[in-house]
Subunit: 140 residues, 4 copies
Amino acid sequence: MTLAMNAQEVMDYMAEVFPQVRDDFAIDRLEETSLTMRLLTDERHLRPGGTVSGPSMFALADCAVYAMVLARVGRKALAVTTSCSVDFMRKPEAGRDVVAECRLLKLGRSLAVGDVLMFSEGRPEPVARATMTYSIPPAR
Amino acid sequence: MTLAMNAQEVMDYMAEVFPQVRDDFAIDRLEETSLTMRLLTDERHLRPGGTVSGPSMFALADCAVYAMVLARVGRKALAVTTSCSVDFMRKPEAGRDVVAECRLLKLGRSLAVGDVLMFSEGRPEPVARATMTYSIPPAR
Amino acid sequence: MTLAMNAQEVMDYMAEVFPQVRDDFAIDRLEETSLTMRLLTDERHLRPGGTVSGPSMFALADCAVYAMVLARVGRKALAVTTSCSVDFMRKPEAGRDVVAECRLLKLGRSLAVGDVLMFSEGRPEPVARATMTYSIPPAR
Amino acid sequence: MTLAMNAQEVMDYMAEVFPQVRDDFAIDRLEETSLTMRLLTDERHLRPGGTVSGPSMFALADCAVYAMVLARVGRKALAVTTSCSVDFMRKPEAGRDVVAECRLLKLGRSLAVGDVLMFSEGRPEPVARATMTYSIPPAR
């Protein structure tokens, strides 16, 4: 079990294939079965009242698991999300990044599963949780 | 069982509270327990390859169920998403709107549940499905 | 699109591989992309108060989608559930079978997705909904 | 944050209200926001091949979160499951108990959320994960 890409390589690859998200996310930490990613919270991620929107939290969880899978299988793979579940538990605080703690629960030949707890930075209680399943195409 | 708001009133209210989404969605049809909403697919909703992004489909499903609940309970309620599940089953086609068919499965005092099938317009097979649960705050 | 097995063949196969469930379920209707299955509600499926238990409804949804997939791909396949989501919306009524209406939403080479609405027999409002994803092993 | 009931009190209460499950589950550990519960794996929980069935793992996750909520809110509350998501990731091993590690992620006035990782006893990799949402009725 080793990493196929480091955090910088993962971010460079994501910026290349998803240019829209290049300014949205940063990887704080990357290990063999876990990763910390933050949403660089900006006006465009907010709902009225200053809270981070549901689609922005979905995107954070999705990117966190995608980055984790990429880091393990390398850039040759074109993984796609096949299913997810998300629970929104508390209102994220305005003016704070949302930090996602991702664990890779399974990395099989064709399916990968990761789960994510999301926090308003510096707060102990999770604002949301998510599980994402990615389909990994067969190596050619 | 009657509607508290018609389609135009729902869209006006959503444009007021979520100005970011005013250009993204349109309601094609609204009945007492079902609704059709479309994502007015634009460059900003796409992933490379021209396919609609996961967060954009999540946002469509979320807005469709939100609009359905609003239409029934009226603008006084501040419903929030508490949980969701989404299955991404096929790649949406480039250059077509994504159309969401929403059914209201439950409208209780405190929880509402709606499910959604999403299609690339004019195609028979669903590209994704989602279920959204909304928490409805008690009337004051 | 044709069926690889009819309802009787599906039930015979399930009775062979899952003998525990042979007395629990019956197929009322089987078509190419949908199926109706009932839970033959008995004492062992109940919670106190006479309502059908969560695990019994989970098992019904799981078997309904499994039967639907089997009917299409035939007995050679050993499909396994990889993920599910369930929403419990109303209390099932005592003394009534629970009837599951299953739709096959996707039948791909490696993944199948079906969703299920469950009703207390004869009642119009669903007691629960579920989505099940099955992994289909490659043909040898 | 203290416990309203200890492990023995929780098990006694569950045996009283769910007599069917009294022989199925045991609490190994109970703390303020986490709990370990095991499925005392027996013939009736198995599928052919000796693996633990999906409904049995669903029941374990459901009981683990229910016990966690009970331990916090006390026996006066009649909590019911409103939604769940489950990912089945590996085949449980025959002849081993399934051990569930539950974390209480939210305990609000009306909703509680817990997630669960399940392991074949003594094995490091999870066989399944689940999230359960319980609705807590208002105190009378």
